[in-house]
């Protein structure tokens, strides 16, 4: 399987993969752990991630997945996708559809994803443009709460100690937990498209701005103590807004978020397909169907409050392990060996 991405398509896929699943829930763990200085911790985490992206941009050619690393990533992605799907259906059943059976909600996510995955790769590549409209509405809706903002919730930043900084920063890094997808997709960008420098900065900055906006808005609106109770502050904030044209603003946002999550699922599975079908394999369509069934099966069993909360507590690990340590290890090993993706693709073809 091979695709050619323009710079915009590449950034669009990355943008959905980064923000899609986590955007609605990332704020609470960061603020609960980081307290009033959470917004600074997020800036620090974003700076670190920007440097990491610069490093990855310079070294992506050394990111070659071997047999073991491919298995590790496949297992992680399967779990990550299953958890994301489980979290999504759990959230929908809490906020929108408490009586809809889990299996119907699973189909809601997995059938469009399956359809897109069985279609041409371009379907998945271009579907992210829907995101633009969503961002505009989102900023307008959230900003409507400005009358209840309290800037004092952002201060003092000095009361956070080592523990707050450590956990606040780790959970902030979770916003960028799918960094390995950058390394995988980067080689499919057309050769004549420039990524390093300003384009990369703009991409990371837009990601940062999107997350930072949501964190600061939530901090301004809620008192810090409330975050220990509220797991989806963005939805809660919108739920508490009174507008003339609709009773529950949160439902509009939640519906948009469902679409975004489906798009994210499609894009994420595209990354999995690119790795899995790097080599010619028999019955590719059957394998894609089985992969979706597997996601559905795992998601069905972990879509419970207890499991969702438990996994959430440890969801600072994926970035450290799979977005940072493992890619660096793979890059360093291949650099020492002198192997690049160009040699690898030549040899495989």
């Amino acid at each position: 399987m091979n695709i050619q991405l323009t710079r915009i398509q590449f950034f669009m896929i990355m943008f959905t993969i980064f923000t899609g699943f986590v955007y609605i829930s990332i704020q609470s763990p960061i603020i609960t752990n980081g307290k009033h200085a959470s917004w600074i911790m997020f800036i620090a985490a974003s700076l670190f991630t920007y440097l990491l992206f610069i490093f990855y941009e310079k070294t992506y050619k050394y990111f070659i997945l071997g047999t073991v690393s491919t298995i590790i990533y496949h297992l992680y992605w399967l779990f990550n996708l299953s958890y994301a799907t489980a979290f999504s259906i759990y959230l929908i059943s809490t906020w929108i559809s408490p009586y809809t059976p889990k299996i119907a909600l699973l189909c809601l996510f997995l059938i469009p994803s399956l359809y897109a995955s069985l279609s041409r790769a371009e379907t998945a590549v271009n579907i992210g443009v829907v995101f633009g409209v969503f961002i505009f509405f989102f900023i307008a809706f959230v900003s409507s709460a400005y009358q209840d903002f309290n800037y004092r919730n952002l201060l003092p930043t000095t009361e956070s100690g080592f523990n707050e900084w450590m956990w606040g920063t780790l959970f902030s890094l979770n916003a960028y937990r799918n960094t390995e997808c950058y390394l995988i997709l980067r080689k499919y960008v057309m050769k004549n498209q420039k990524i390093a420098g300003v384009p990369l900065f703009l991409f990371v900055f837009s990601l940062f701005a999107m997350f930072f906006f949501s964190i600061v808005m939530c901090m301004l609106y809620f008192s810090t103590e409330e975050f220990s109770l509220i797991s989806e502050p963005i939805l809660f904030l919108l739920h508490a807004q009174e507008v003339t044209f609709v009773k529950r603003l949160d439902l509009i946002f939640a519906m948009m978020w469902i679409f975004i999550t489906i798009i994210t699922l499609i894009n994420y599975i595209l990354v999995v397909r690119l790795v899995h079908f790097k080599k010619m394999r028999k019955f590719p369509k059957t394998q894609i169907v089985i992969y979706h069934v597997l996601i559905g099966f795992i998601a069905y069993f972990i879509a419970k409050f207890e499991y969702v909360q438990l996994i959430r507590e440890y969801y600072w690990i994926p970035f450290i392990l799979f977005g940072f340590l493992l890619p660096i290890l793979i890059i360093l090993l291949n650099k020492v060996r002198g192997r690049t993706i160009f040699d690898s693709s030549n040899s495989s073809s």
Binding site: T94, W95, I96, S97, P98, Y99, T100, P101, A104, L105, C107, L108, I111, P112, Q147, D148, N150, R152, L155, P156, T158, E159, Y221, F222, S223, E225, E226, L229, F236, H239, A240, Q241, E242, K247, R248, D250, M255, I258
Partner: protein, 345 residues
């Protein structure tokens, strides 16, 4: 697919009793709840009140459900009436159910009531508008003139969770003999999440509104100036608060004034304008000090000075904050500027 998923969760209007006004009284273990909803009887829509008893707020609703042919639905609740005894027990534990359920309205107003909640619910039967909407409109109109602050289920919960600010809620009374028209009794003061029992009269609560300075609100005031009526509106309030020392706070207010009534010889003389500005400054400073004294007596930090100290002098902000607040030396400086005088001088 989305439409299909909606099949299980469709909520038809005909299956629900849409309640607009809820009242609770009593304390945990022995509570009473009242639910007002419109019902069509002999061709007219009339307010029906369902009364229930229970040990806590959720049980009140469950028990009330047993008395109606449909399921009680609070998604359109506009107002929640809370009795004094419930508020004195600390209201956070009673609000949890309204906060937790996503179908509930977080924008419903919270209102404290004097005496029996039932009287206020019964009074709603004589109104032509929906019971909850009547209270909501009543409160909104008082918010416009800063007599009561904007406090809904969500904003109140936010304050209750914050340690550096105290809650104040609109306080309503039934004074007329036939108990049909509730009126604003003022603003009930809370300390540490519990109602103190003290109420700021509407004449005083507008100065609390000035101190809180919520955007887009006006404050109207009338006084006698040299035995002549003087009425004015405070159009805009510029506010700065400065912590001078761990025990002293200085608050500066710059007021933009519009004269609404002044039947003296006129305001052409610039000296006269300056004199009236001085008079207004003096009167308002006096009123503000009165309000601050009451707040300090009741240990009600409605201004959120605790949050200022938490940010700027964290060493002073501790678990004894309410005690510290009651002993704070608060200096107020008011500057008034007359911007408009209406159509005549």
């Amino acid at each position: 697919m989305l439409l299909l998923a909606g099949c299980w969760d469709e909520r038809l209007y005909k299956d629900h009793t849409v309640v607009s006004l809820v009242g609770i009284e009593g304390t945990l273990g022995e509570m009473k709840g009242y639910f007002a909803y419109p019902e069509v009887q002999t061709g007219n829509s009339e307010v029906t009140i369902i009364e229930s008893e229970g040990i806590e707020t959720r049980e009140l609703r469950l028990n009330a459900d047993l008395k109606v042919e449909q399921t009680i639905d609070l998604s359109m609740m506009s107002t929640l009436l809370i009795s004094e005894d419930t508020a004195k027990d600390g209201i956070n534990k009673y609000l949890d159910v309204f906060y937790r359920d996503p179908t509930n309205s977080l924008t419903a107003f919270l209102v404290l009531v004097e005496g029996d909640v039932k009287d206020y619910m019964e009074a709603s039967k004589s109104w032509t508008t929906e019971a909850g909407e009547y209270f909501a409109r009543f409160i909104r109109s008082k918010e416009e003139v800063s007599v009561v602050p904007h406090r809904t289920v969500q904003t109140a919960s936010s304050i209750l969770f914050s340690e550096g600010i105290d809650l104040v809620l609109p306080y309503m009374v039934l004074k007329d003999e036939d108990k049909k028209r509730p009126e604003l009794g003022g603003v009930g003061l809370f300390s540490n999440g519990k109602f103190t029992g003290r109420v700021l009269e509407p004449d005083q609560s507008k100065f609390l509104g000035l101190l809180l300075q919520e955007r887009g609100r006006k404050i109207k005031y009338s006084a006698l100036y040299n035995d002549q009526p003087l009425s004015f509106t405070i159009l805009n309030v510029g506010k700065t608060r400065k912590i001078q020392s761990p025990t002293q706070v200085k608050m500066d207010y710059k007021l933009k004034i519009e004269i609404e009534e002044f039947s003296d010889t006129g305001l052409r003389d610039v000296k006269k304008i300056s004199e009236i500005e001085d008079f207004i400054e003096e009167k308002i400073t006096e009123e503000i000090y009165n309000v601050l004294n009451i707040l300090q007596e009741e240990k009600c930090d409605a201004l959120g000075l605790g949050n200022d100290f938490r940010v700027k002098k964290p060493e002073v902000f501790d678990e004894n904050w309410h005690e510290t607040f009651s002993n704070l030396d608060i200096q107020v400086n008011v500057k008034a500027e007359i911007l408009k005088t209406g159509l005549i001088h």
